[in-house]
Structures are given as structure tokens and as C-alpha cells.
Subunit: 238 residues, 2 copies
């Protein structure tokens, strides 16, 4: 402890590292939550869905921890410019991860409901979920590595998710029309698909935050979008 | 300009007032957006829905303005304790209002789609929307007046919104089962109802933030909830 100001600098740096490790842990957790929730839907496993529902509290606790650390850093360290951008970005990313986790929880709750109604084949759902899972993994890597190219790649992939959602939406309406016994199950699957689509949006938000944090500039406003998926009209209806 | 430090204090106070006025404007705007979006659904008015969709940019712009002001206040004023709580609360409230506005935009987009399919009676939707509109108005009053009693009253009303949503969800599934021509319209109405229910959650979040800002303590975790509405199984299905 020859130099007390060096000590402070080092400890500040450690706090920033701690911030990153909290974000990393949140990212790993929500990725697992998404996977578990979708598996519970596809395998009709209400017990494992319960585990996912309970697991969301951990995500929330991590977000609270990030928030507390950020307030402490802002109040005690009074960071400027780059550091301020880093800290504010971490707060935004934690908020997106928390909402990502909320969607996993909603899916898991619906997995419980859906296990009581006739099974509906939804191969598109699994594919969509895997894509979003890869997005959240890659965008967290981009954050931790400060890699904007990787972030931009994630950002571009959101259009594919939207296209898959679009197909799935139409398909589910068709199943409903074919047999009224499918209606409750399909209604839940519509919401589940929507949850996954929104998770893709959160991964995309994070990509934008990473880009802003590293470069200090925004990605263009015209986010690459598939056809706006929710608002289509299924064929065979007048 | 006898005393420069007094000048700084006054101007800081003015900045806090400006922060409140931005939040107040956001609140008024999203209240109007919700009303306009629901009217566009009920009256099958795609043109006025377009206006609502475009109007969301104003809400986003105000949130950006709040964010910029908050960063400036944090960086230049280095506020402590009560002021820090006020400023961080404003940021959270602006985020909830922005998401509230996003839901109004989603409803308006669906109003456009739904105008092309057979009309479905949904009296519960109008009632639910009016309730959420009153909640957002009252919770903003509670914020501007620092009135925690008013905030707690809003917080309690969320259970009623959930109950209305629950009934509407069941009702819409029934219409779908009765006539497959209702399916597309009802699918959109399911999402619209869900949007309104989520808006109620944001009003409730704001009530919690107001309580925390004024009292420095949290409301209990067990938010008053109706039956968890999304996850019910409609009767007549097995």
C-alpha cells in the first residue's frame, strides 16, 4: 500500500470487473432458463417447468445486485465519459436480461398449462428458441470482449427470428381452424412464440447497447426486420 | 447574481422540475395513446391507428430526453440520498412509460390487422382499457404530488385488471371454438388484451417506484394479483 490512490484505482477496476462478471452470470442463467422452459413445453414436463419458474428469482436478484453496484459506482466514483458509458450500458443490459428471464418464466408457466391439453406439433418453436439462445450467448460474448462485429452479427439475425415467428403464427392459426380441440393449446403456443420473439428483441437491444458502449455511436434506427410478424392475417379467413 | 452558489442551487431545482415536467408529459401522452389505440380497435379505424403508431416516436423521444437529463444531473450535480433516489426513480418511471407506450403502439398495429376480419364483440376490453387509463393517470398524479396513498391505491387496482383479463381470455377462446372464422380476429384480441394487462403492470411498477422514492421503503413483494390469468384452461377442452 505504498500509494493509496493506486489502491483506489485498482479497486475501481475490480468493481468494473465484478460488474462484468455479474452480467456474464445473468447471461448464462437466462440462456439456461430459456432452454429449460422450451424443453418443458416440448416434452410436456410440468415439474421441470416449476423449476424454471422458481429460477427466475435468481435472475432478478442478480439484476438488483447490478443496480446496487451501479448506484454505488455512480455515487462514490463519479465516473466520466467512457466509464460512465460502460456503467450505464451495464445497467441497460441487466434490464434487458431481466426481461429476457421474465419471458422464460412466462413460457415455463404456459408449459404447465399446456401439458393438460392435446399435444400440438410445433417444430418451428424449437428452431426459433435455439436461434435466440445462440443470439443471447453471442451478444454476451460480444459485450465481454468489446467486439462490435460480433454484436452487429447478432443484431442482423433478429430478422430471421421474426420470419420464423411469422411462419409459426400462421401455422398455429391453421391448426386452430382445423380442430377446435387445438384452440387452447395453440393460444398458449401463440404466446410462447411471441415470448421467444421478444427475447430476440432483447438480444438485439443488447447488441445495440454493446455497439454504443464501444463505439459511442448508435446503430441505424432501421433495425433489420422480417415482415412485421404479429400483424398478419392467416389465409383462409375473410 | 449576488451569490453564485445560490444560482447553482436554483438552477438544479429547475432541472428537477424540468425532469418532472418531462415525466408528466410522457404520462399524458401514453394515456392518450392507449385511448386512441383502443378506440381504433373498437371502431375498426385503421387510419386513426396509423396516427397512434406514428405517435409512439414522441414517447420514445421524451424518454431519450429524460435519460440525457438524468445522465447530466448525475455527472454534473453528483446528487446524494434523496435527490439520487428522485433522479433514479424518474429514469425507472420513464422506462415504464416508454414500455406502456410500446404496448399502445402494438395495439394500434393490431387494430389495422383486425379491421380486415369479422368483428368480434369484446365489451370487456373497453372496460379493462378504461381501468388501466385511470391507473396511469392516477399514478402520475401520485408521482407529481409525492402522494404514496394514491400510489398504493393504484397498486391495489391491478388485481381487478387481471380478473378482467382472465374473463376476456376465456371468452375469446369460446368465440374461437364456436366459429373458426373468429379465430384470426380473436388471436389478435388475445394479444391486445395481454398488452392492456401488461400496461396495468407498468402502472403498478410506477406505483412501487413512487412509494420507494417518497418513503425509501419497498412495497411488499406479494403484489396483489388476481388468478394468474394467462395460464388458465378454457372450459370445454380436454
Amino acid at each position: 500500500m505504498a500509494n493509496p490512490s493506486e489502491h483506489i484505482v485498482k479497486s475501481y477496476d475490480e468493481e468494473l470487473k465484478h460488474l462484468n462478471s455479474l452480467i456474464g452470470r445473468m447471461g448464462g442463467l437466462v440462456e439456461t432458463q430459456l432452454d429449460g422452459a422450451i424443453q418443458a413445453v416440448l416434452r410436456r414436463a410440468p415439474e421441470s417447468a416449476e423449476v424454471i419458474v422458481k429460477g427466475d428469482a435468481q435472475v432478478d436478484a442478480l439484476e438488483t445486485e447490478v443496480g446496487a453496484l451501479v448506484v454505488r459506482l455512480l455515487a462514490l466514483r463519479q465516473p466520466m465519459a467512457v466509464d460512465l458509458r460502460h456503467i450505464v450500458s451495464a445497467l441497460k443490459i441487466a434490464a434487458d436480461l431481466e426481461r429476457f428471464g421474465d419471458h422464460a418464466k412466462s413460457i415455463a408457466k404456459r408449459a404447465i398449462a399446456i401439458s393438460q391439453v392435446p399435444r400440438i406439433p410445433a417444430p418451428g418453436l424449437d428452431r426459433m428458441a435455439r436461434m435466440v439462445q445462440a443470439m443471447i450467448k453471442d451478444v454476451l460474448d460480444a459485450y465481454l470482449e468489446g467486439d462490435t462485429n460480433k454484436a452487429v452479427k447478432v443484431w442482423r439475425r433478429d430478422a430471421e427470428v421474426d420470419q420464423l415467428y411469422n411462419s409459426l403464427f400462421r401455422e398455429l392459426l391453421t391448426y386452430m381452424m382445423e380442430d377446435p380441440r387445438n384452440i387452447t393449446g395453440c393460444a398458449h403456443l401463440l404466446f410462447i412464440a411471441k415470448n421467444v420473439e421478444r427475447m430476440g428483441d432483447h438480444a438485439t437491444n443488447i447488441a445495440e447497447t454493446v455497439h454504443y458502449q464501444v463505439k459511442g455511436t448508435k446503430l441505424p434506427d432501421d433495425r433489420p426486420k422480417g415482415d412485421d410478424p404479429s400483424f398478419t392475417i392467416a389465409e383462409g379467413q375473410g
